[in-house]
């Protein structure tokens, strides 16, 4: 193997992380807003009250501004698998390309075609037909999330593929296993309902702003209540599914779980505390300043009172034999590729399960070639590779905690908001309204930290236990990477400035500008005022 430069791998990771996190600022809002638009329009079609059409059109405008950036930045993600992760895409693409293609066929196409009709078709379609179009946009965007998460789950918990020495890649053998990957199912629901939380908070926060200013009262009161109720249900769902996901990580990705919870030494249930605060030190392999809640960790993670959680130090020790075996696997594989002899193949098959750990050792081998390690240096290479099996604990631990703490905050805000809204006392609670307004960016922040937990925790692998991130990147020059990073920084900064400018502009303008000409003949308007004023 020709040596790979760490700088290029790190820059590729940086670029992917930045562009993915950026893309993910827009996706959750799209996932949630489409369903809220569909709900508003449904009420409009069923009751005929024009105020709900105004709602659908006004929030639809904000949705459109956001949707455009979601689509645009999503293209980046698809490109980067090819442009920056060439080895990954060749090694895993036989399977991994399929969910991405299905996403295009089944979801993205539908969403993008109908979104045009949703904006342009108000005067050309009958009411039920337009409503159907809005539902198809919502369905499309959520199906899109499904397939992307199916693809992501296969990197975390690989299923439905096997390594084939003939083609030197993972061969796809079961789409059923790929779709029904338990990680995919839980992740899909967790992520899409997280999107509903983001959308609810946006609608609730902007409605709160109007109520604070005494503008668009009927409109804002209705939007607020709808968002608060939608938000509380979604927050409960997001926490529940988060718990399910945690259990799956415990089962399938022990290194990620131990890092998320800061567990260095295998736990002895049931006394173990859940760490609410700690400063994990990756170098010393211990935590500073631990503040824990006793007895909580074991049942929370394992759903039992007796099961232990394997600590990171023990996981490192267990990896030692797998690394040696992986080195043997690659040595035999290379010999077989040249000789085609049955004995080389048998030797490879004996160590096949650990091949990924052999790849992991590559960066510590002389000349990055694990197949030519001098006998005397084998132990050194294995020992140097061992700490590599752990993700960055500080990042994983804190990303996870920030997400969890934020979700508890959302629960409180939505619960309080629903209660006050149902009691029609919103105008008497300016503090609540201000909290709602200021909380608008927080769910998006929480979803970002969720991604950091999932993806930083997956390290050092792109395909868990099979292909290290270090070997997955395209071998570009540092100059290429600096060029693309600078380009992304420039374009993405312009985009976010334009998007925020428009979001603020249209949110401040409010709904009256948007097809609400018939407001005064609208019977629902009076009724809405009653709702807002409490009597």
């Amino acid at each position: 193997m020709e040596p790979i430069s760490s700088e290029v791998v790190d820059l590729s990771r940086l670029q992917f992380a930045v562009t993915a996190l950026y893309h993910f600022m827009f996706v959750p809002l799209t996932l949630g807003l489409t369903f809220m638009l569909a709900a508003m329009e449904t009420v409009y079609v069923v009751t005929g009250r024009k105020i709900y059409k105004d709602m659908a059109q006004f929030w639809g405008k904000l949705f459109g501004i956001n949707f455009a950036l979601g689509v645009a930045t999503g293209i980046t993600m698809e490109f980067e698998f090819g442009t920056n992760w060439s080895m990954y895409s060749r090694f895993f693409g036989d399977m991994f390309g399929t969910p991405l293609a299905i996403e295009g066929l089944m979801a993205f196409f539908m969403e993008s075609t109908f979104v045009g009709l949703m904006f342009f078709g108000w005067d050309r379609l009958s009411k039920p037909a337009h409503l159907a179009v809005t539902y198809l946009v919502a369905l499309g965007s959520n199906l899109s999330a499904l397939w992307i998460l199916v693809a992501n789950a296969s990197m975390n918990v690989p299923q439905g593929t096997h390594f084939d020495p003939e083609t030197m890649r993972m061969q796809f053998d079961s789409i059923v296993q790929v779709i029904f990957n338990p990680d995919a199912q839980a992740k899909f629901v967790h992520t899409s309902v997280a999107g509903y939380v983001c959308a609810s908070m946006l609608v609730m926060g902007i409605s709160a702003f109007y109520i604070l200013r005494g503008r668009h009262k009927a409109f804002a009161a209705r939007s607020f209540r709808m968002a608060a109720l939608f938000g509380i249900i979604s927050t409960v769902a997001v926490i529940t599914l988060g718990d399910v996901l945690g259990r799956l990580v415990y089962e399938h990705q022990p290194t990620k779980l131990a890092a998320m919870e800061g567990v260095w030494r295998t736990t002895k249930p049931p006394y173990e505390p859940w760490l609410a605060f700690a400063i994990p030190d990756d170098a010393k392999q211990e935590n500073d300043l631990e503040i824990g809640i006793p007895f909580v960790l074991t049942p929370l993670v394992t759903h039992s009172f007796t099961a232990p959680i394997t600590g990171m130090k023990e996981l490192e020790d267990q990896a030692g034999p797998r690394i040696s075996s992986g080195i043997a696997a690659l040595t035999a594989l290379k010999a077989w590729r040249a000789s085609g002899s049955a004995s080389d193949l048998a030797a490879f098959n004996a160590h096949k399960a650990d091949m990924g750990y052999g790849f992991l050792a590559a960066r510590h081998a002389p000349g990055q070639d694990v197949t030519a390690i001098p006998a005397g240096q084998l132990d050194t290479v294995v020992n140097e590779t061992k700490p590599d099996i752990l993700p960055n604990v500080f990042v994983t631990f804190w990303a996870f905690r920030i997400m969890v703490f934020l979700s508890l905050w959302f629960f409180a805000v939505f619960a309080f908001g629903s209660y006050v809204s149902l009691k029609n006392r919103l105008e008497r609670n300016p503090l609540l309204l201000k909290l709602c307004l200021w909380s608008i960016p927080l769910p998006i922040l929480a979803t970002e930290f969720g991604w950091i937990t999932a993806e930083a925790g997956r390290q050092p692998w792109t395909v868990f236990d099979l292909l290290p991130t270090y070997l997955s990147a395209s071998t570009h020059s540092v100059g290429y990477m600096l060029f693309s990073l600078a380009g992304f920084a420039l374009i993405y900064s312009i985009f976010i400035a334009a998007e925020l400018y428009l979001m603020f502009k249209f949110a401040r303008l409010g709904p009256e500008e948007h097809g609400a000409h018939a407001r005064h003949d609208d019977p629902g308007h009076e009724d809405g005022l009653v709702v807002a004023l409490g009597e």
């Binding site: 442009t83 070997l471 071998t475």
Partner: protein, 379 residues
């Protein structure tokens, strides 16, 4: 032929159809973007032009994404390698592709003429540049690109991006692709706009078509003198999809014409394409934009098909390690993956086609400047 070979061949055909669809549909939108500043002299006219493709550009761009997804799934090695080989160009292409959706959404949301003029430039760049790169990529691939694989299948590049950007044959192909897209976009504008946009679009489309014809003919002469790639041994259709080893490839002058010499009937494809590019502008001049649009589609189909016939079974030859050239047979997915994708495509492509046609039906009719300016939903 065994069933795996048939699957591979079938997916190669789909790949070709995707390239054609991309040229025709996305090319049309990009052509309108390129022409925007020229056919529209004031804001109302430009908005009219934009709204002509307004309801459909997004769906068309999805063809582009879907094309990428299909290449990834059906030819993972080709996807992984070609995107990395053309890194700098692909990143520039990406920047153009992501400018477009934002330009559509944001341009008309602010009154300022400076704001709108900036986005109009964005349309020009994000329309012309991707079409140029699209054509240039075909040109570079025909000449062969520099890369090789290590024994583990790690890809290494052997040539700098400058050699791809400054390759004269690639520049010719890129210009031809832009010309075809101007033709297609102009025909679309004629179909759905009235004067004065109609007349201006007609003028540009006519010149686009004839420019493409000249470049296509020139390209043909160039290819006849170029070193093509020929399989010497191995690399059979039934081989395991392993690009690292298993074939010997030689470079032969005029090699890309081998299939045409062996089967002279195939000449009908490039000659038919040339005929389309010459006749199409005449049809537009006779004020038959619908027929002219279809003839433009014919030009794209013939062009891509000509490249496909010339290179078969190569997809992306390596100039530095010809033995590791990517072919249909060694860069495709497994039999299981290809079957899976085939079944899914058979289910979903008809569904996509039916709802896409329905959308066109709903949004049919001429787009008038007066309606656009008064409509709050428009771009």
């Amino acid at each position: 032929m065994d069933s795996y070979t048939i699957l591979k061949f079938f997916w190669a055909a789909i790949l070709g159809i995707l390239f054609m669809g991309l040229g025709i549909m996305v090319g049309m939108d990009m052509g309108v973007g390129t022409l925007l500043r020229f056919v529209g002299r004031n804001d109302g006219e430009r908005r009219t032009a934009l709204n002509i493709i307004g309801p459909h550009w997004d769906g068309n761009q999805v063809w582009f994404i879907l094309g990428g997804g299909a290449i990834f799934a059906a030819f993972p090695t080709l996807y992984a390698t070609s995107f990395s080989v053309f890194y700098v160009v692909m990143i520039l292409l990406l920047f153009s592709m992501i400018l477009r959706p934002v330009a559509f959404e944001y341009r008309s949301k602010v009154e300022s003429s400076r704001w709108r003029a900036s986005w109009d430039w964005a349309f020009l760049i994000s329309g012309a540049f991707p079409m140029f790169v699209y054509g240039a990529a075909f040109g570079n691939v025909m000449e062969g690109v520099g890369y090789h694989f290590s024994w583990t299948g790690q890809y290494y590049q052997d040539e700098s991006f400058l050699s791809y950007l400054l390759n004269p044959f690639a520049i010719l192909c890129g210009l031809m692709s832009v010309a075809l897209s101007v033709y297609q976009g102009g025909a679309m504008l004629m179909l759905r706009a009235e004067e004065p946009i109609y007349g201006r679009a007609q003028r540009y489309a006519v010149w686009g078509g004839w420019t493409a014809a000249v470049l296509f003919a020139l390209g043909g002469v160039w290819i006849s003198r170029m070193s093509g790639y020929v399989l010497v041994s191995g690399g059979a259709s039934g081989m395991a999809p392993d690009p690292i080893r298993g074939q010997h490839v030689a470079r032969v002058a005029g090699g890309w014409l081998a299939h045409f010499s062996a089967h002279p009937a195939l000449w009908i494809v490039p000659l038919g394409g040339l005929a389309c590019m010459i006749v199409g502008p005449l049809v537009l001049r006779a004020n038959r934009p619908a027929l002219g649009w279809w003839i433009g589609a014919g030009s794209w189909i013939a062009t891509i098909k000509t490249v496909g016939i010339a290179m078969f079974p190569f997809l992306m030859p390596s100039s530095t390690t010809p033995d590791q050239s990517l072919t249909i047979w060694n860069s495709c997915a497994s039999a299981y993956g290809l079957t899976c994708m085939l079944v899914l495509a058979a289910i979903f492509v008809p569904i996509i086609l039916s709802y896409t046609s329905w959308c066109y039906y709903v949004m049919r009719g001429k787009v008038r400047t007066a309606d656009i300016v008064n409509d709050t939903h428009s771009y």
